[in-house]
């Protein structure tokens, strides 16, 4: 009996460690499903973020055409990394509108001049209010919105080259 007790701690540890090993060996699931998917875009009206492009309101997103809404900022490094993918999406015919978060008109204009302008309209979200209302926690973040103004997809972080095809498909499905 006392022999059993002596080795019990080792047995418990081996069982525990095996479970941990198993958990570690399984690939982690990294895609996050937002609670906002399936919900309507909150009502908003934003002034233009820079001269030469119109501002944006929730009514613009409910006119029958799907959109990709991209939260970005000129001060955000990953947004620069994302710019080429947005260009590819725009060239593929995806209607992209932007939300400039906590930014200034001059710096937004400079950002677009430097990294390309895939946007049809950009609203200025100066206090991150819309961003927070959309359940977004950082830049860049993108939402696929269908023609009725309902959120269909949320991608957190920069859009990588391998994500482009999926987003084009999501926009097509949202039609």
């Amino acid at each position: 009996m006392s022999n059993l007790i002596r080795w019990a701690p080792l047995a418990v540890f081996i069982a525990l460690a095996s479970a941990l090993t198993y958990g570690l060996a399984k690939p982690a699931r990294t895609n996050i499903t937002s609670k906002m998917v399936g919900a309507a875009v909150p009502s908003f009206k934003l002034a233009p973020a820079t001269s030469g492009l119109p501002g944006l309101s929730s009514a613009d997103l409910a006119k029958g055409q799907p959109h990709l809404v991209n939260f970005f900022a000129s001060w955000c490094g990953p947004c620069i990394a994302e710019a080429p993918q947005l260009k590819v999406l725009a060239e593929a015919g995806v209607p992209i509108v932007g939300i400039a978060v906590r930014d200034r008109p001059q710096t937004v204009a400079a950002f677009l001049a430097r990294h390309g302008n895939p946007f049809r309209a950009i609203g200025a979200d100066n206090a991150s209010q819309l961003q927070m209302a959309m359940g977004s926690s950082g830049v860049p973040e993108s939402f696929v919105i269908d023609g009725t103004g309902t959120i269909r997809l949320q991608t957190i972080g920069p859009i990588n080259p391998q994500d482009v095809a999926g987003i084009i498909a999501a926009v097509r499905d949202a039609r």
Partner: protein, 639 residues
């Protein structure tokens, strides 16, 4: 060159560590001449790790962006303190700190340990080297902090803004001192098992190390709790978050060890159990590190998500814990059973304390790992929240506090029930009076906090009872330490009970100019303005809080945005009064010019951390007393 010098020192340190292990092994086998070199080798190894760590700090302070780790975690706009703290605010740096503290602990054993038998000491230093060697390998092969990047970026990526806080700058070092301090207890246990030398002398030698580690763990947990409380802006002080549990579990094991080692030192009882606890305590430190560092758990503050490193750490875990438990199984049979004692005795109370602490440890461990295991087996993601932990661990914790009131009043070896009851009676009566009084004053109070408050007050009285009729000046320091630590537990429990029962919370959408009543305060929303810091911008609310007819105090909670990396945080503003805290947070815009304000009145919440401070102070007094007494005479009689 700085980075290369650091890396070279790390390799040399690893080599010396391997030498330390070899020399210790041969020394234990009888090569007495070789054994004498173990101490200087351990000291040299520590010096090299300190040198390497110093080089890394230097790289961070001068923002050397040609080093990958610095580029990823540092930023030239960051205040000096956080450039400093950024050294360990990341995976590689914190692992280097871990190895440095391991080295320092080994050097401290080599320099100061005079009570342990020479052969056991050699084995202990060998154990310490074996642990360190694995972590050296982990650093050098999987987490090199000195790797260069080419071309060097123009600017660094900064540090998680949540970590840009003076509290958190010093929280990890404190906690690590605790974790790694337990490695000494572990090495002692290994040493004692190897030389079959488990007895009172071994316990007396180990006790100061356990005490020191336990003090740092206590401080680290207390500071971490206060940090989470004011920095996360949720108004809570404990979330049963896996990362918090990772620090609580070694603390619970160390607390049990601290009590059982006293039984072993004083009465030569609980031999196998004490050795077991020493192994478990450091195992919990390692499991905690593993959980936080491997990315196996997702948590609000688990960083460095990397399964490859997780695999490496898991291998170390297998090796050390599995190895130690196997050694335990093989050797403990040859350790003679310790002295026997009556159930009603100081030893009996300490055994009850150990069983309860172990049960709480089991509950926390199961709650932390259960979601992992369920996911591994069934694929379903679930989380175990505060309801489980509170319901399962709460009652046991309350019994433990009751035991604080009883245990120290018991005599060693055997005691009688009736005289004991007489000694405990005043505290029990006080607790009963409080129980009835509070039940009458606040009839809707939940049962656990109500019991908690009554027990806390009873235990506070009982914890100072050992000083009763004693010459206070001639009372040994370690008795003072016990009294202060137990009193601290009562103080913390009182704070917890008050916070969970009497907190007033107001969530309002207010316009500038409006006034909100929360608890005894009238909070006037006086203004809202943008503001800037070194690397952030924020919206700042101005709140004027009045209590009765007094002057207004101004609180300025902020909603902050950091731009490198882009992160938003809410900076709470807290006013501390004698009887509690007014806690304010600025939330989101609520439309139509309204802003969400979250206001709490938290009566006596500060007692929670004041208690934590007292517990650590008690530990420090006990440590001082033990070290002094240990110097004066080798034998002690504490009855």
């Amino acid at each position: 060159m700085i980075a290369e010098a650091g890396l070279a020192a790390l390799w040399l340190g690893a080599a010396l560590c391997a030498l330390q292990l070899i020399v210790a092994t041969l020394g234990v086998r009888g090569e007495v001449q070789l054994a004498a070199t173990v101490r200087p080798v351990a000291i040299g190894q520590a010096a090299l790790t300190v040198f390497a760590f110093g080089m890394l700090i230097w790289l961070f302070v001068r923002v050397d962006l040609s080093v990958l780790l610095v580029a990823e975690n540092d930023h030239s706009e960051k205040p000096l303190l956080y450039r400093f703290a950024a050294t360990w605010g990341n995976h590689e740096g914190s692992m280097l700190m871990w190895v440095t503290i391991l080295g320092l602990a080994g050097a401290a054993i080599a320099l100061f340990e005079r009570r342990l038998a020479e052969r056991t000491l050699t084995a202990t230093l060998g154990g310490q080297a074996a642990i360190a060697l694995g972590f050296y390998a982990f650093l050098l092969f999987a987490s090199n902090p000195f790797a260069r990047i080419s071309p060097a970026p123009a600017e660094g990526q900064g540090l998680n803004p949540l970590l840009q806080d003076p509290g958190l700058a010093f929280h990890p070092p404190t906690l690590y001192l605790g974790y790694v301090g337990l490695s000494v207890a572990f090495s002692f246990a290994i040493g004692a098992l190897v030389t079959r030398d488990v007895g009172p002398a071994f316990a007396r030698a180990m006790r100061p190390w356990v005490l020191a580690a336990w003090i740092f763990l206590t401080l680290g947990i207390t500071a971490g709790s206060y940090w989470a409380y004011y920095e996360l802006g949720w108004g809570g002080w404990w979330f049963w978050d896996p990362v918090e549990n990772a620090s609580l579990m070694p603390w619970l094991a160390a607390t049990a060890l601290l009590h059982s080692v006293t039984v072993l030192a004083t009465r030569d009882g609980l031999r196998a159990w004490t050795v077991m606890l020493a192994v478990v305590a450091f195992s919990m430190s390692m499991i905690g590190t593993f959980l936080v560092r491997s990315g196996i758990l997702t948590s609000v503050h688990a960083f460095a998500v990397d399964p490859r490193r997780g695999t490496f750490l898991l291998a170390l875990l297998f090796l050390y814990i599995g190895g130690a438990l196997a050694l335990f199984g093989a050797r403990i049979g040859t350790v003679r059973e310790g002295a026997r004692f009556n159930l009603v005795s100081r030893e009996g109370a300490l055994v009850a304390n150990n069983l309860l602490l172990s049960a709480v440890l089991g509950i926390v461990l199961v709650g932390t790992l259960y979601p992992l295991i369920v996911e591994a087996v069934t694929g379903t993601k679930l989380s175990v929240g505060p309801p489980y932990f509170n319901a399962a661990a709460g009652p046991l914790a309350l019994i433990l506090v009751a035991l604080i009131g009883v245990g120290p009043l018991l005599r060693w070896r055997r005691d009688a029930l009736m005289p004991l009851l007489r000694r405990v009676a005043p505290a029990a009566v006080l607790a009963a009076v409080v129980l009835v009084g509070v039940k009458f004053a606040a009839p809707r109070m939940h049962i656990l906090p109500l019991l908690g408050l009554a027990l806390a007050i009873g235990a506070a009285l009982a914890s100072v009872a050992p000083l009763w009729r004693r010459n206070l000046l001639r009372t040994p320091l370690f008795v003072w330490g016990m009294v202060v630590a137990h009193f601290g537990i009562a103080v913390s429990l009182a704070g917890i009970a008050c916070d969970s029962s009497f907190t007033v919370e107001k969530l309002v959408a207010a316009r500038v100019g409006e006034t909100v009543q929360v608890g005894p305060y009238q909070v006037h929303f006086a203004g809202l303005a943008p503001t800037f810091g070194a690397n952030w911008q924020a919206l700042e609310a101005t709140l004027e809080a009045r209590r009765g007819a007094g002057d207004a105090l101004v609180l300025k909670p902020q909603a902050r945005a950091y731009w490198s990396p882009p992160t938003e945080t809410s900076e709470s503003a807290i006013h501390t009064a004698l009887d509690g805290q007014l806690y304010t947070v600025l939330g989101k815009a609520a439309g139509e010019g309204r802003w969400q304000l979250r206001l709490w009145w938290k009566p006596f919440v500060t007692l929670i951390w004041a208690g934590g401070g007292l517990i650590a102070l008690g530990g420090a007094l006990a440590l001082l007393g033990r070290v002094r007494r240990g110097r004066r005479r080798p034998q002690e009689d504490w009855s």
